[in-house]
């Protein structure tokens, strides 16, 4: 059996390592925004809508990721637009885009000639097969997110906390909302390869739930989320490698385990140890 050090000499493992690292950075940051603002369900809608783009990508012979990105961004804007201007209730608006995307995806994959070989890796993720190009994209996204959230930290925080009040102070709330929903869409699409459409939501919410046990400050929550996400994905990756199970599921399982253990530790500290 290879030791961990040996593993790093394999290209595929190095790629997987960097993929988990970039996934942790991007999902840690964006997920904190999603969880704080309670738009997890919106993100679920975007994730599933992107499947439509994957289907069209297959059908036209384009990169499925490009199709997914276009669908994700459009559905994100669509959800906001329907809710704001169309007076559709937000959850209904999410459901419309969610199922529309899935339906389009299924139709076009059915219409595509032959069997879609990588379909399973989009649904369930496959961090060990992430390509170098995808890795560069993930790295670029992480860099953009770190820069944006450091430069416009207060802007994002104020709009996320109290949108209506932020409007009265003259902040360009709509612009920020559309910009951030686009960043969420891109983050989801580029991380689909790591854990898959079915599991991506957990990478955006579980590390944040763990971080929220330690802090109630937005900035610290982002940092701790990144750390937890990285520990969880890397440990999950190793686990999947040694036990030979799918990496996406293994990563999510590890993240749930980390959350469960931390929650238990906090519970014991608060309810049992603090007793006189």
């Amino acid at each position: 059996m290879d030791t961990i050090i040996d593993l790093f000499s394999y290209d595929f493992f190095m790629n997987a390592f960097w993929a988990s690292f970039f996934a942790a950075v991007s999902c840690g940051i964006v997920g904190t925004y999603i969880v704080s603002r309670r738009i997890v369900f919106v993100s679920g809608g975007i994730t599933h809508a992107s499947f439509g783009g994957i289907g069209i990508g297959y059908f036209l012979g384009w990169s499925p990721l490009l199709g997914a990105a276009i669908f994700a961004i459009l559905s994100g804007w669509g959800i906001q637009l329907f809710t704001q201007k169309g007076k559709v209730r937000e959850d209904s608006s999410i459901a419309i885009w969610w199922s529309l995307g899935m339906a389009i995806g299924i139709i076009f994959i059915y219409l595509s000639p032959g069997y879609a070989p990588n379909l399973m890796s989009y649904l369930f993720g496959s961090v060990l097969t992430v390509s170098t190009t995808e890795l560069y994209l993930m790295g670029a996204l992480s860099l953009v997110l770190v820069l944006f959230f450091s430069l416009f930290y207060r802007l994002v925080l104020y709009v996320a906390f109290d949108e209506e009040f932020a409007k009265t102070t003259g902040l360009p709330v709509n612009l920020i909302n559309y910009l951030l929903i686009s960043m969420i869409a891109i983050t989801i699409v580029l991380n689909i390869r790591v854990v898959g459409i079915i599991l991506i939501l957990s990478l955006l919410t579980l590390p944040q739930a763990t971080a929220n046990l330690f802090t109630k400050d937005f900035k610290k929550m982002m940092m701790i989320s990144v750390l937890v996400a990285f520990i969880g994905s890397f440990a999950g990756l190793l686990f999947s490698f040694y036990v030979d199970i799918p990496s996406g599921a293994s990563i999510i399982f590890t993240l749930v385990l980390v959350f469960g253990l931390m929650k238990l530790a906090f519970y014991i500290r608060q309810n049992i140890l603090s007793r006189d």
Partner: protein, 256 residues
């Protein structure tokens, strides 16, 4: 200097296709302490939101003679998410967001110091690093009051600041507002007609239309003529109207 801070003329606003305000007129004068009363659904909050540019009017005009960033706003407390991961200091500092949108590289030291000063004056500097989820109702109202003062407003707009707070804080709040009123005009929405008439200088009844009443004493008959039926019926000859004064006061001119 202009006589009026804000002029509202012939303002009509709809909410979900329903006309809430119809041809409303109101002037806000410097250093006024204006109490806004009216039945639920009568358009009090809509008037404020139109004033702040949060809802678009169907017709009419709102003219500001002060810069918009010199308007402070305290929304209804149930509007915010109390479990949002944000500290008290950051909430207060968010009151000055608009003036520093592109100033991303400037250190926000002066803002932070001013926020700390406001919290100190409100007597709650001890909680400045706490998350807002850890505060009591009274503490939270104080924090949001600090936020609304962050931009050193010339007009302060408060939407029902007396909900979810205990009686002791309520009187503290009104004393604080009285003190602030020496420096700024205050527009206060409340359902508690009795309490506010003790503190405000003038009253506006909002029920689709706005009737300005240039005194803090208002009689049953006047309320009726303003078409301003209020929810709490205390006494009076005309059904569905209420007297703003306490029961043992006469109707005209008795001050506390």
């Amino acid at each position: 200097m202009n006589e009026k801070l804000v002029e509202i003329k012939n303002l009509s606003v709809s909410y979900d296709q329903q006309r809430v305000l119809e041809q409303a007129n109101l002037d806000i004068l410097p250093l006024d302490f204006l109490g806004i009363i009216g039945p639920n659904g009568g358009g009090k909050t809509t008037l404020i939101k139109a004033l702040l540019g949060l809802v678009k009017p169907d017709a009419g005009s709102i003219k500001f003679h002060i810069p918009l960033k010199k308007v402070g706003y305290l929304p209804q407390i149930n509007q915010v998410d109390k479990r949002f991961p944000i500290t008290v200091l950051d909430v207060v500092q968010s009151g000055k967001a608009g003036t520093r949108f592109l100033n991303v590289f400037r250190k926000d030291h002066t803002d932070r110091l001013y926020a700390e000063k406001l919290l100190d004056e409100m007597g709650i500097s001890g909680i400045r690093h706490k998350a807002i989820g850890e505060l009591s109702g009274g503490q939270m109202q104080r924090v949001f009051l600090c936020r609304s003062l962050m931009n050193q407003p010339e007009l302060l707009i408060l939407d029902e600041p007396d909900t979810f707070v205990d009686n002791q804080f309520e009187s503290e709040l009104y004393e604080k507002l009285k003190e602030l009123n020496k420096r700024m005009a205050i527009l206060l929405v409340s359902h508690d007609v009795g309490t506010i008439s003790y503190y405000v200088k003038t009253i506006a009844c909002v029920n689709r239309q706005v009737h300005y009443h240039p005194s803090n004493v208002i009689s049953n008959e006047q309320l009726a003529s303003y078409n301003c039926p209020l929810q709490i019926v205390t006494h009076g000859q005309i059904p569905h109207t209420v007297l703003s004064m306490h029961e043992n006061h006469d109707h005209h001119g008795h001050h506390h």
